[in-house]
């Protein structure tokens, strides 16, 4: 037996060894077949007209290495198997952040190993849980810079760190170790998220020289708009960030963190919240943007319900259709046409069991 092995000290054997081996083997096969592989280095900006293509999104895995967290682990393995089974294959897969439950190094490394099984290249976005213990040191050691950009088939992709905390400091590197304490979305002692001055400057730099006709996709863990401060579905410097994006004709922000589909449009910027793999979260009591379609309340007795993966199809004109591929439901697609029409076109299916 010469197959891939789990990282030392991480027992996958008692959890779901077969699924682990299946996805890891698939990843190795993908690499041997000449794929660019996961965590590929971003390429240089070459703005132009888009060719239609699709990228997949996996987010909010909340892994730990404790075998009792097997549910989160199996969910991520399932997500990886799902994107590997996509036909045609997505051009790349975005991991939208919160790979680790509490930012521990071993959990991040475990997640990295699972994600290496993704056949398509993987682009990583940092989440608040990933940075929880050390401000992102372990995450960056595994995945590199948390803010970067590349151009793919005429579309400019920019990744931002949308989960810095207000008051964290000019550079997270100077504050490493400072992010401690209980991590609950509803804990009002936490400062709100922000992209921050440095992050905004980097976002602007990554968009400099990009023509306004070029479709832009921004990838962030935090929402980049203000939804519900009480649960930290909130980006404190959202308006300033949006001002950087405002000159462009077609901007799509793909974010995670909310563990549920959300849809919002501010000016010409579309915002899409994506599904989590680990667990769903309830609808926030306020601030749900009007373009968000109603969903059936997840069934707690089915851990897969309310979870899933997603993908984004970019048309030749840069229009983004976002699909939420629920694991326990029919997929829901939020079309770019719906977003532009203010919710008039392409109505989504009706929900039967709304939130309390």
């Amino acid at each position: 037996m010469t197959g891939p092995r789990a990282p030392r000290g991480i027992d996958v054997g008692g959890v779901d060894r077969r699924a682990f081996l299946r996805v890891v083997s698939a990843g190795v096969a993908g690499l041997c077949a000449g794929g660019t592989g996961p965590f590929a280095a971003p390429d240089a900006p070459t703005p132009g007209r888009a060719d239609a293509f699709r990228f997949a999104v996996i987010a909010d895995a909340h892994l730990s290495v404790d075998p009792r967290n097997d549910r989160a682990e199996k969910a991520l393995l399932r997500a990886v198997a799902d994107v590997n089974a996509m036909d045609p294959q997505p051009d790349f897969v975005v991991f939208g952040g919160d790979l680790a439950r509490d930012g521990r190094k071993d959990a991040l490394a475990f997640g990295a190993r699972i994600l290496k099984a993704v056949k398509a290249p993987v682009r990583m976005v940092v989440g608040d849980h990933d940075r929880h213990l050390d401000g992102g040191v372990a995450w960056r050691a595994l995945f590199g810079d948390d803010a970067y950009a590349w151009t793919h088939k005429g579309v400019r992709f920019v990744v931002v760190n949308g989960v810095r905390r207000v008051g964290e400091g000019a550079s997270s590197a100077t504050r490493d170790g400072a992010i401690q304490g209980p991590l609950h979305a509803d804990d009002r002692r936490w400062a709100a998220f922000e992209v921050g001055e440095e992050g905004r400057a980097r976002l602007a730099a990554h968009l400099s020289g990009v023509t306004k006709e070029t479709p832009v996709v921004v990838l962030s863990h935090g929402p980049l708009y203000k939804l519900h401060r009480g649960w930290n579905l909130w980006t404190e410097d959202a308006e300033t960030v949006q001002a950087i994006l405002a000159p462009f004709d077609r901007v799509t922000v793909v974010h995670a963190h909310a563990h549920q589909p959300l849809a919002h449009r501010i000016g010409r910027i579309d915002f899409h919240g994506m599904l989590a793999t680990a667990f769903p979260l309830p609808r926030p009591p306020e601030g749900v943007p009007p373009l968000t379609f109603p969903i059936d309340r997840p069934n707690p007795f089915n851990p897969a319900d309310g979870c899933g993966i997603g993908w984004v199809r970019i048309a030749a004109d840069g229009t983004a259709d976002v699909t939420h591929a629920w694991w326990n439901r029919e997929p829901t697609t939020v079309t770019g046409r719906r977003m532009r029409s203010g919710g008039v076109e392409d109505p989504p299916p009706r929900a039967r069991r709304s939130s309390y």
Binding site: D66, N69, L183, R189, P282, P284, R353
Partner: protein, 172 residues
């Protein structure tokens, strides 16, 4: 600010397992800071009977001190519930998940719909049955019996969070 710095310092010294706020003295104050929107119990000053009152005193004439004590004790139980609700260690979660991880501010727990028949449990369930189920199944934590102080506190917190909701028992 000093408290926050102190919390951080404590967390750094004792490591990951100490990433919850302290129990005992000071816990309630810290919980109030973390969750300032938890509603206060019903204002019962209208049952106070004093020399100037014409209230019927159906309870037999309680003083303002009595009523203040009721509020203090009730609110204390609710705050303890909020603390337990947001403390993975308190429910023995093996995976760092507290109740609040999936239910911020108690959302999606809808205590006003119990009792209701839960097909998956095979009986008419009370809120405490779901608290126990969630602790074991979702948080991979302890079994929480009906008389467990944690169960009682959690029930108090969840009920408080739904102040004003209409009771619709049996609703799915």
């Amino acid at each position: 600010m000093a408290t926050k710095a102190c919390l951080i310092a404590v967390s750094i010294v004792v490591g990951v397992s100490a990433t919850q706020w302290p129990t005992g003295a000071g816990a309630d104050a810290e919980t109030r800071r973390a969750f300032p929107s938890i509603p206060k119990p019903h204002d019962n000053r209208d049952v106070v009977v004093d020399g100037n009152s014409t209230a019927p005193g159906s309870y037999g004439g309680y003083s303002a001190t009595d009523v203040a004590a009721w509020e203090r004790e009730t609110y204390k139980l609710v705050l303890e519930g909020a603390r337990v609700f947001h403390d993975a260690n308190a429910i023995g979660s093996g995976i760092g998940m507290s109740c609040g991880t999936c239910h911020p501010d108690g959302a999606g727990t809808h205590p006003e719909t119990y009792p209701k028949y839960q097909v998956q449990i095979g009986r008419a369930a009370l809120l405490r049955d779901m608290i126990d189920w969630c602790s074991r199944q979702s948080a991979r934590g302890a079994a929480l019996g009906a008389d467990d102080p944690r169960t009682r506190a959690l029930e108090a917190y969840l009920t408080a969070q739904r102040q004003g909701a209409t009771i619709r028992y049996g609703k799915h």
